[in-house]
């Protein structure tokens, strides 16, 4: 039954607001703009490459989050999801996982490319991809919680940004630190472990918030 739901969510996420292409395009645009605005000296670009990749990743993940529950809420599909065999908590988890697979995974693959293009060390690529994948997981679940809380409110997008941005700061800090430390030869395992812990905590806790927010929006 989870497979049935996941297939549908993947198809919907893929079709919603450009899905992967929009997020990766956003990342590419930002990476191209950066040397134009900062100046082309490789030393300066290499210094900020990892951090910028992270900020762009966070913002690109936010792009497609707004409609995560809203469509289903507006067209009545959320009623159907509530009356299905799986609890709403699982439904919310599957939605976030679909978001991660469609938007987070391509971004995780594109992030090292963008960072290396800006001058990050090529040896950092696996770490960049891993950190981006973990960060994307945290962003998907936190963003889902924001999207569910903003249901049934006008200007939900603004509200989502307001709710989610403070929650996005820890993964950006941990992820940025892991890459920074790796590049400067400092221990990078600890920030990466913190990032993983944060992502897993988000995946474990936010489904309850999302389900409660959806029930509240319906009633």
């Amino acid at each position: 039954m989870i497979g049935v739901l996941l297939r549908r969510e993947l198809a919907l996420t893929w079709g919603r607001g450009g899905g992967a292409a929009l997020a990766v395009g956003f990342l590419a645009c930002a990476s191209v703009m950066l040397p134009l605005s900062l100046g082309p000296e490789p030393a300066r670009l290499a210094r900020v490459a990892g951090g910028v990749a992270w900020v762009v990743l966070a913002l690109a993940s936010l792009l497609s989050l707004e409609r995560m529950f809203e469509r289903d809420f507006e067209d009545g599909a959320l009623d159907l999801l509530c009356l299905g065999p799986l609890p709403l908590e699982i439904v919310a988890t599957v939605k976030c996982l679909a978001q991660w697979m469609v938007v987070g995974a391509p971004l995780a693959l594109a992030t090292p490319v963008a960072a290396i293009a800006l001058g990050a060390k090529p040896q950092a690529a696996p770490l960049l991809a891993l950190a981006a994948a973990l960060g994307g997981l945290a962003f998907a679940f936190l963003g889902g919680a924001g999207a569910a809380l903003a249901l049934a409110s006008r200007r939900g997008g603004l509200l989502i940004a307001l709710i989610v941005l403070p929650l996005l700061t820890p993964p950006v800090i941990f992820g940025g630190a892991a890459i920074e430390n790796f590049q400067t030869g400092l221990p990078w395992i600890t920030p990466l472990a913190m990032l993983a812990a944060y992502a897993l905590a988000a995946a474990a806790l936010t489904p309850f918030a999302m389900a409660a927010a959806c029930r509240n929006a319906l009633s």
């Binding site: 739901l5 009623d79 159907l80």
Partner: protein, 206 residues
């Protein structure tokens, strides 16, 4: 399998407005109940409360099975179809994909979905995107889910509104078959249902 629905002393409000107070009603297996009343009387709210989507201020909705009461949550998750104003169909996906998902999600099989589509004259429409369907065709697509996945309690909100007379008769047949299998129907209607149904009027409190 639900064989009885008992609504006991239900009080419902939307915003500041009290819609129902102390409403009690029973629906037994093989019985159809038609809720009537003016716009805003609370028919839709009552259906959604039975489906567990709206929390009542007080009162209870109970479901009876063959051997005693069923947990409300289980009854709703496995024994309940709700067909609302909105059919939950995604306009960008094809009718066939949406029907397949809705039927499997509510516990039916792909074969049953196909048979229901044939029955409701939808077979040729299944390849089209949902946004290309008319209101009546969309409603038939949503009704196909009811026909295809076996759940005993049907909660219907104006199920016939967008349908033409031929298809109203056809849906009437589906309802009679459902009642014959021991199903229950609770429907909010303005036009009478094409089957023998007990009418319950909601007055619409001030």
């Amino acid at each position: 399998m639900i064989i009885g629905l008992r609504i006991e002393g239900l009080c419902l409000a939307r915003g500041e407005r009290r819609l129902l107070s102390g409403f009690s009603e029973m629906v037994r297996a093989g019985e159809a109940v038609a809720l009537t009343g003016p716009n805003g009387a609370g028919k839709t709210t009552l259906l959604r409360a039975v489906a567990g989507l709206i929390r009542p201020e007080s009162g209870d909705v109970r479901f009876d099975g063959a051997d005693g009461a069923i947990e409300a949550e289980d009854a709703r998750r496995f024994g309940c179809h709700l067909l609302g104003h909105q059919d939950g169909l995604k306009s960008g996906r094809s009718a066939g994909e949406e029907l397949d998902f809705q039927v499997r999600w509510t516990g039916g099989t792909a074969e049953a979905a196909e048979a229901a589509a044939r029955r409701l004259g939808l077979t040729r429409l299944l390849g089209l995107p949902v946004r290309a369907l008319s209101a009546g065709q969309r409603r038939r697509l949503a009704l196909a889910r009811l026909a295809a996945s076996p759940r005993s309690l049907w909660l219907l909100d104006e199920p016939l509104a967008p349908l033409d007379s031929t298809h109203r008769a056809l849906v009437g047949e589906l309802m009679v078959e459902h009642l014959g299998r021991g199903g229950l129907i609770l429907a909010a209607v303005h036009d009478p249902l094409p089957i023998g149904a007990r009418e319950v009027g909601l007055a619409g409190a001030a």
